[in-house]
Symmetry: C2
Subunit: 286 residues, 2 copies
């Protein structure tokens, strides 16, 4: 028997992973949640059929959505994660002794429950005593927050389905207000390669530039995401993502990371010309 999970990265490109068995399949109020066991990537989670994370490469995504902002902000104490129900972003954030509160707003409690059961090495982020979990709509949650967070990590799904509202101008504006005067917002920013993904990335970037003074994009190699070339948005009120990187301070923390380091931090903001062009086109559209 051959058993394969296949995701269409576009209508004309497929990525398939051999599956040993399906571990869970649940229809929540918001989405379909599936967990598979695979020889190449270990356990992996999909939402509505789209790859969210695999045991083997989730460290790349989670380290890269967390550490760049944490290494730039001089004193990040109050952190908000929106989405991120797998706990991976929390796990990375909890490595910092200086963090005082770690709030997470996840709309779908079942995602958390499933990850705690099947992906404990990722969901262990929830075990930290500084974590407070709010099961509600991130969009609504940030509306009521003012001047509260040092860093907001928007660890959303793709810009359709339950994650759609997390790619709107209103949401980014509310994140801006929820941040303190020197706050930083990081979001997962889709891929620049396939035209449909590049459009989503371009739209998100345009909307973020309408709220934040400093908007930069950085990249990572994530093998299980479409094209393997993934982007993150770094939106900041005060700190520059490269010039304000605290290299010595971050190294002194002596955190264990498998992908991130401070050299790579600076390098990840150096984008290919074709990506820079997509981002420039956004800025000149207005």
């Amino acid at each position: 028997m051959e058993f394969w999970y296949t995701e269409k990265h576009t209508n004309d490109v497929k990525f398939s992973i051999r599956v040993d068995k399906q571990l869970a399949s649940i229809d929540s109020e918001f989405q379909r949640i599936d967990v598979f066991e695979s020889p190449a990537f270990g356990t992996f989670l999909t939402l509505d059929g789209y790859m969210m994370l695999t045991e083997k490469d989730e460290f790349i995504y989670h380290e890269m959505i967390v550490h760049p902002a944490m290494a730039v902000h001089p004193n990040p104490e109050n952190i908000l994660v929106i989405g991120g129900g797998d706990g991976g972003a929390l796990r990375e954030l909890a490595k910092y002794p200086g963090v005082k509160t770690l709030d997470i707003v996840e709309i779908d409690k079942l995602v958390v429950d499933v990850c705690k059961k099947w992906l404990p090495q990722t969901a262990c982020g929830f075990d930290d005593s500084r974590v407070r979990v709010f099961y509600q709509d991130g969009l609504k949650y940030v509306r009521s927050c003012i001047d509260k967070y040092d860093i907001i990590i928007v660890d959303s799904t793709d810009p359709f389905g339950p994650g759609e509202g997390l790619f709107t101008k209103e949401f980014y504006g509310n994140c801006f207000k929820a941040l303190k005067e020197d706050g930083i917002m990081v979001n997962q920013h889709e891929s620049p390669f396939y035209p449909k993904d590049a459009e989503a990335m371009q739209r998100a970037h345009k909307r973020i530039t309408e709220s934040f003074g400093i908007c930069r994009v950085y990249q990572a190699h994530i093998p299980t995401y479409p094209s393997g070339h993934w982007l993150f948005g770094f939106a900041s009120k005060k700190y520059h993502p490269v010039r304000d990187l605290k290299v010595r301070k971050w190294k002194a923390l002596d955190l264990k990371t498998h992908y991130y380091n401070t050299n790579l931090h600076a390098g990840s903001f150096a984008l290919p010309n074709y990506v820079e062009e997509i981002l420039r086109n956004v800025e000149s559209e207005e």
Copy 2:
């Protein structure tokens, strides 16, 4: 009708591209050569069933195998390409007015013929008047060269089949001798992600360090190669790949590139921790 090209990136991971039609299929003396037309990637070439290049993303590979060395060497005049029968590396090299001779050694004339017919936007590299083509085994060719080239680009296939000899200690040693006293060799260096590819990458790096004093590895995002995370080796007798980068000089040339730029050059040498660890293990094995 659905018509798909599928490559197994490992025994347990498949990457598939929808095909409109097959344009060519030839068995040469060395390998099977296929050309397909696809909606997502345009025309693409495979050798023995492995993806070599697609119209849509070949610019990344060819820019990244050529420009880093050209932007570091102060006066690259005599260049050798080994493999590279598609002409893409030649096309990028031919952009430099200072280049005097552009030698290419390709073992399989049919690859060149097929690319000239079906991938003219890549094979146009052969049109430059400085190009001299030698249809022979690159391994044998470099044996007879001493102190001849400023830069050698090893644009090989994977380390099995016809490309195997281009990953040996003997070959790298002969490249060292074929280079002038301040020469640079760049080679395609496989991917760090899947264990089998990482082993090939590690082996190649180990063998190169046995000949060259300066051995660094840099990375690029290539969507159609396994994992999308691709490495190149930068082996040098004198110049450091980042400290000796001639930013102003390179910018003054005003070359058109879609991926490469001098910021990205420096950034591409900043590798993830897990890749650095694989490379370090090589060095400590001895």
